[in-house]
Symmetry: C2
C-alpha cells in the first residue's frame, strides 16, 4: 500500500519504519523537507536529527505534507495533537478526501508543564474534531494509547495487550485493524463510532501517571475479560 | 477491623459483604436507616431493596452515616460521586478525622444522559477535592476502575488484573493495599500522591465505552509490563 505518515517525531518514525519493513511504500510528510533535513541537533524529545534517522531508513521518502498525502492510499496522522489541524490543512483536504486517516494524535497541552492536560476531552475529542472538519475523510482513531515502540512491535512486551479502534466507517476500521494485526497486535477492540475516541484519549492521564510510577513507557494495558 | 461503608448501592453492598465475609465488623451507613429499610421497590439500578439484601447478610448493621463512621477504624466512601460531599458532611468531620478513607466514588455526571461525563477532571479530581475538604482524613483512592463484583472478587476473571492506589499517606495506602490483597488482588500499583487519582477517574470514559463494546461490565485492565 502507499502510505503517508504525517509527522517526523518518534511516532512518525516508528510507524514509517515498521510499515516500510512490512513492504509498504512509505512517504513521510513534513512542513518543509529541506528544513527537516538541515537540522543537525536532536529535537526537544532527544531524538536524533531526521537526516540521521533517514540514513538508517533508506527507501522512505520525505516530502511535504501535501506531497506525501497526495500519493497515498492511507494517511497516518502522527503529528502532535497541538499541531494536527495545521498539519492537515497543509496536507490539503483534496489530498485526504475519501482516504483512511489513522489518527494517532493525542490532544496534549503542555502549556502548564508536566504532566500535560487534555485540550479537548469528555464532551468531544480530537478525533471527532478531525472527522467534523474533514467529513470526507474516513477517520479511525487507534494506537494513541501506547508508546511508539509498542505501537509497532507489541510482541516485545512478551504478553498479549490491547489496542482500540474508533471510527464511523466499518471498512476503514477493517483496513486499520489489518494493519495493526500486521504489526503484531492480537487483541484489537472495536469500541464503536468516532465518539468512543473520547475514551482512549482520556486514557492518557492514567498512562502518564503509570509511566511515572513504573519508571518506563514500556507497558500497555490488556483488557482482561 | 471496624469498617464503615458509606452507601447502600451496588458498590457499598459488594464491599460490605466481602469485608464481613473476611471477618471484619462492618456497619453500612445511610442517610436515614428507617427510610432505607422501608423501601420495597428495586432502586433505579435494579438492585433489590436494601431490606432484602440485609436478610441475606445478617451481621452487617445499618446506621446513619455519622453512626457508622463514628465507630469505624477505616471508612469506605461507596457513595455516588454526585452525593459524596453530602455523605461526608453527614458522616461528620469529627468522625472521619485521622481515619483512612478508601474513596471508590467516581464524579460521574448523568445529567446529559448516558454515557455520563465527569463533573471534575484533568486539572482536579474528586479524590483531591475530598482530601482538600477534609485535610485530617487520610484519603486513598482505589477500586474506582472496575465493576463492584470484581472489586471484591477479582479472581473471578480467571487472570490477573490491575488495581491502583493514589494518596498522600504511605501508611494509609499500605492499609488499603492489604485490604485489596485480602480481596484477591495480586497486582496493585501505587501511582503516587492523591493527584494521580485524576488518571484513574479519567479511565471511566474508556471503561464505559468498553462496557458498551463488550456487552458486559465483567472486565478489568491489566497493566502489562
Amino acid at each position: 500500500m502507499n502510505i503517508a505518515v504525517l509527522g517526523t517525531g518518534m511516532v512518525g518514525r516508528a510507524v514509517a519504519a515498521r510499515l516500510h519493513e512490512l513492504g509498504h511504500t512509505v512517504v513521510v510528510g513534513t512542513r518543509d523537507p529541506g528544513a527537516t533535513l538541515a537540522r543537525t541537533e536532536p529535537d526537544q524529545m532527544g531524538n536524533p536529527p531526521y537526516a540521521v534517522w533517514q540514513e538508517a531508513h533508506r527507501g522512505i521518502d520525505l516530502a511535504t505534507f501535501a506531497g506525501a498525502a497526495e500519493v497515498a492510499d492511507l494517511v497516518v496522522n502522527a503529528s502532535s495533537g497541538s499541531v494536527t489541524f495545521d498539519v492537515l490543512r497543509a496536507a490539503g483536504a483534496e489530498n485526504l478526501a475519501g482516504k483512511v486517516l489513522l489518527d494517532i494524535a493525542n490532544p496534549l497541552d503542555f502549556s502548564a508543564g508536566f504532566p500535560p492536560t487534555l485540550s479537548v476531552k469528555d464532551t468531544d475529542s480530537l478525533a471527532e474534531q478531525v472527522q467534523r472538519a474533514y467529513p470526507e475523510v474516513r477517520v479511525v482513531k487507534a494506537l494513541n494509547t501506547l508508546n511508539a515502540d509498542l505501537m509497532v512491535e507489541p510482541k516485545s512486551l512478551g504478553a498479549s495487550s490491547t489496542v482500540f479502534v474508533s471510527g464511523e466507517d466499518p471498512s476503514a476500521k477493517a483496513e486499520v485493524v489489518a494493519l495493526l494485526e500486521s504489526f503484531g497486535h492480537d487483541d484489537v477492540i472495536d469500541l464503536g463510532g468516532i465518539e468512543t475516541a473520547r475514551g482512549t484519549e482520556m486514557l492518557l492521564p492514567l498512562w502518564l501517571r503509570l509511566m511515572g510510577a513504573l519508571g518506563t513507557p514500556h507497558f500497555n494495558i490488556k483488557v482482561v475479560r
